[in-house]
Symmetry: C2
Subunit: 255 residues, 2 copies
DNA sequence: GCTTGGTTTTCCGGCATGTGGGATGGGGGC
DNA sequence: GCCCCCATCCCACATGCCGGAAAACCAAGC
C-alpha cells in the first residue's frame, strides 16, 4: 500500500502533512485527542504523534490537561499579522461600529478565499436578526449580500468556476440558475451594491457594497443584514456604500 | 561549516524550519521578499523558496502583486480556532464592551504565554489615554495591571524565572526590585486585583483582575487603563473585578 | 482480581525526501 | 552601459523522516 503516486491519505511532501494536521481542526472540532487527529487528518498515528510533538514545542498547538490538542496561542499571534485577516479587521472596525450604531442592525465584513467567502468581522446589532455566522467561518459566495459583491468582482475564472459548479439552495428565493445569477452580478457591478432578499433565510435581507484597495481592486465587502420587509433596501444601500467608501479610503493598501 | 551539531541557523528538524519561517514575520515586518525572509529566518534562500512555495499552495502564506510574502488568510482561519485566542475573545467581548461603555476608558484582555503577556483584545475608550498595545502583541508581565495579575497566579517556576531575569524599566515608578515585586504580587493574590500606577507610562494607571476557568485556575486578565489621578483606583477595582467574575462565569471552560 | 478496547508512547532500519550551493534569468537604479 | 539585488531552477548527496509493530497505559466492566 505504499506504491501510490498521489497522496490521498498516504505518502507526500513533508510540510503538506503538517498543514493537513492543522487543517483537521474545525469549528466543530477545536480540540482533539491524538487518535482523533490521526483519523480526521488521514495520517498514521505515529506520524501525527511525532509532528504534534514538534508543533507543541513551538506553540502552534497546545495541550489541555485533558490531553487533547488545540490550536496554540503562538500560531494565533502570527496569524494576527495576516493583512486580509486582522489587518483588514482593525482598520475597518471603527467604521463598522458606526454603521452598527446608526442602524442597530447586523454588520458583516468578508473577503473572498478561493470560491468561498470568509467572515473577517461581524457585529451583532442589538435585537437584530440573529445571524448564523462566525468570525473565521466560511460561506457560499452565491447567496449573501457580501458574497454577491465579492463574486461580481472576482476574476473571470473564479466566477465561471462558481457558476459552473453546484449552487447551494437555502430558501425558495435562493437564485440557483447560473443565467439569472449572471444577470444579478452584472447589476451589482453596475449599481455598486448588492441585494440578497431572503436568499439565505426566510426572514433576512442583506445589502452589500465593495471595499477597494488603493489600486481600485475589490478586496472585501461590507454588508448589512436586516429583517425582510421592515426597511426599503435602497436607503440602506446608500448607507452601506458610504461606509464601504470610507473604509476603502482608510485602507490605502493593506500591509 | 556543516559539521555543527546544533542549529543556530543551519541544519535541523524539518518542521522546525517551516515554523521558523512563520516566526520571521512580525508587526514590523508583516510583508517580506524572499531574500528578506531568508535573512530574517536564518535559512538559506533556496530552502526558503521551496518551503514558501508549499506554504503558498496551502494558503498559509500569500503573495501580493509586489511579490512579497504575507501571512495567508487560510492560516488566520485555523488560528481563529485557538481557544485562548479568538475563543476567549469572543466570549469575553460583550462584557468588555459593557465595561468600556460604562467607564469610557480603555479595556484590555490578556493571557500569559511563557514569561510574557499577549493581548487578546483591546477596546479604545473614546477620548481615553491612547494605548500602545496591539491585538496579538506581547508585553512584559511585570508592569501592566493585567500582567501583574497573570504573574501573581503563574506557576512558581515561571514566576521565579521572571523575577530572576532582567526586569524592564519604563518610568521612574516602574517596580524593578524583585523583593518589592514579590510583595506586590502577594497583595494582588490577597486583594483579588492589581494596580499599576504609572509603571508603564507617566500618565497612565491600570487596574487588573483575574479571569478563572471552571476549575478555578487563572486563565486570563481584564484590565482598565485610565489617566493617572482622575479617579480613585479602588472603585475602579470593584468594576473590573465584577466584569472579570462575569466573564469567568460565562467561560465555563474554554474549548 | 483479570480481561477487553481504547488510547498514547517509544523504537528502529530503509529509503524516500529535503537539502543548499551555485548557475540562470530579470529588473531597476545610477 | 554597468552593478546590485532578487527570484527561480537544478541536481548529487546523505539526512531525517516514515510508519508498522510492540509495549506501556488507562478506564471500565465482568
Amino acid at each position: 500500500m505504499r506504491q501510490a503516486g498521489a497522496n490521498p491519505g498516504g505518502t507526500g511532501p513533508v510540510l503538506a502533512r503538517a498543514l493537513r494536521l492543522l487543517g483537521a481542526f474545525s469549528a466543530e472540532h477545536p480540540a482533539m485527542t491524538l487518535s482523533e487527529l490521526s483519523r480526521r487528518s488521514g495520517l498514521p498515528v505515529s506520524t501525527v504523534h511525532r509532528m504534534a510533538g514538534e508543533l507543541l514545542g513551538w506553540g502552534a498547538l497546545e495541550r489541555g490537561d485533558d490531553g487533547r490538542y488545540r490550536i496554540g496561542l503562538r500560531l494565533w499571534e502570527v496569524a494576527a499579522l495576516a493583512p486580509r485577516g486582522q489587518g483588514l479587521r482593525e482598520r475597518a472596525l471603527p467604521f463598522l461600529e458606526d454603521l452598527s450604531q446608526i442602524t442597530r442592525e447586523n454588520v458583516q465584513l468578508a473577503v473572498r478565499e478561493g470560491t468561498e467567502l470568509v467572515f473577517v468581522e461581524r457585529i451583532a446589532g442589538s435585537g437584530a436578526v440573529p445571524v448564523l455566522t462566525r468570525v473565521g467561518g466560511r460561506f457560499a459566495l452565491t447567496a449573501t449580500g457580501g458574497g454577491l459583491v465579492l463574486l461580481a468582482h472576482a476574476p473571470d475564472d473564479v466566477r465561471e468556476d462558481v457558476l459552473g459548479g453546484p449552487i447551494p439552495r437555502f430558501t425558495e428565493y435562493t437564485v440557483t440558475d447560473p443565467a439569472r445569477l449572471r444577470a444579478l452580478l452584472a447589476d451589482v457591478r453596475a449599481n455598486g451594491y448588492s441585494i440578497s432578499d431572503r436568499q439565505v433565510t426566510d426572514d433576512a435581507l442583506s445589502v452589500g457594497a465593495p471595499i477597494r484597495d488603493a489600486r481600485g481592486a475589490v478586496v472585501a465587502a461590507v454588508s448589512l443584514v436586516v429583517h425582510h420587509g421592515v426597511a426599503a433596501p435602497h436607503p440602506l444601500a446608500a448607507l452601506v456604500r458610504t461606509s464601504a467608501r470610507a473604509i476603502s479610503r482608510a485602507l490605502g493598501s493593506i500591509d
